[in-house]
Symmetry: C2
Subunit: 205 residues, 2 copies
């Protein structure tokens, strides 16, 4: 975008770093970098320190792989939660989304991605073995699969089903259907079809 008379390698470096973030183009990256340049020194220090601390100080739970600020996991170590149910998700973000609904009180297991041969991600790159480990003592009764409905997500779900089939757990998956407030006419056929097939008695909603 700024060939030739680009006056600053420092600016270009900062633009490149912003542009490396997902969904940030070079034009936006330039705007952000110039914003940083205009900020007072203490704000920039705070900005920089937040990311350094995020990366270096955060703890990852050795059981569920959720992040936390100290070595205890706020979810696994919460005795008021239902320790007989594990919800399997792809990422930290999914945990935050589900927690945000306030509808789930069980534990989680973050896979760290989904099986994707195109991206070179196989089962051994994910936390699948660790999930099996958690099922060994027999205290877990239900595993809820909450992976995406993409081909990779479905493949991962089937693979997990086979892997944990040897344990005496019920494997369930989250309901798919037309969202609340969505018009039927705008729902895609697959979603609407699933909604009809998976209908349930009205009062148990």
């Amino acid at each position: 975008m700024f060939q030739g008379a680009y006056s600053s390698q420092l600016l270009e470096d900062a633009v490149n770093q912003f542009a490396s973030l997902p969904g940030i183009g070079r034009r936006t990256a330039l705007r952000l970098a110039l914003h940083i340049l205009d900020e007072p020194q203490e704000n920039v220090s705070r900005f920089v320190d937040a990311f350094r601390a995020l990366k270096s100080d955060i703890h990852v739970c050795g059981r569920c792989f959720m992040i936390s600020d100290d070595s205890s996991c706020p979810i696994c170590d919460d005795r008021t939660r239902d320790h007989s149910t594990i919800c399997v998700v792809e990422s930290v973000r999914d945990v935050l989304s589900i927690e945000n609904t306030g509808q789930y009180r069980g534990l989680y297991h973050i896979l760290g991605g989904i099986i994707s041969p195109i991206d070179g991600i196989g089962p051994s790159d994910l936390h699948i073995r660790e999930l099996s480990e958690r099922l060994k003592d027999g205290s877990v009764k239900e595993v809820i699969l909450a992976l995406s409905t993409s081909m990779e997500g479905e493949t991962t779900s089937y693979y997990l089903c086979k892997q944990i089939g040897a344990f005496p757990v019920t494997v369930t998956t989250i309901a798919r259907g037309v969202g609340f407030g969505d018009d039927l006419e705008y729902a895609d056929e697959l979603t609407l079809g699933k909604s009809i097939v998976n209908r349930h008695p009205f009062n148990t909603l």
Copy 2:
């Protein structure tokens, strides 16, 4: 967005920092922060270092206020440029945009903003006095005003005109009109009106 079971202050800090950038909402900020978390340590270090270096190592030219990597200004110190013309702009970004056209070979003067009483920005907050200083030795023959056409921009242009009226310089402003490739029917009345009033002989384009 993540009240209650927000598991990490470190993550929240990083989200807040991203969300403080212009045009970045909290949802995008969370996506970016989780992206940072997934990156290898060396990438995060590079990310953080680029912004620290941008803020601490960059030089601002004492004449035109353009940024550069070392103490010499790549524009002011370029003897091949036309030192008798100064283009007055609001920000570094404007200099980059004009340089990018390849159509201008004079010098610049970055005001650092425009007069905006609502934002508490008066003439003394801008580099206006420094512009007058540059005109004192009589070597500058033309000052081009390239400020925005907002009320604040126009106010600043008029103020500058009065301030530098005492010097023997020609004050000009950049042409406004319908953009290349734009349809006349979609141009606003003010722009189209300016285009007609400021028409010029066809071959001098």
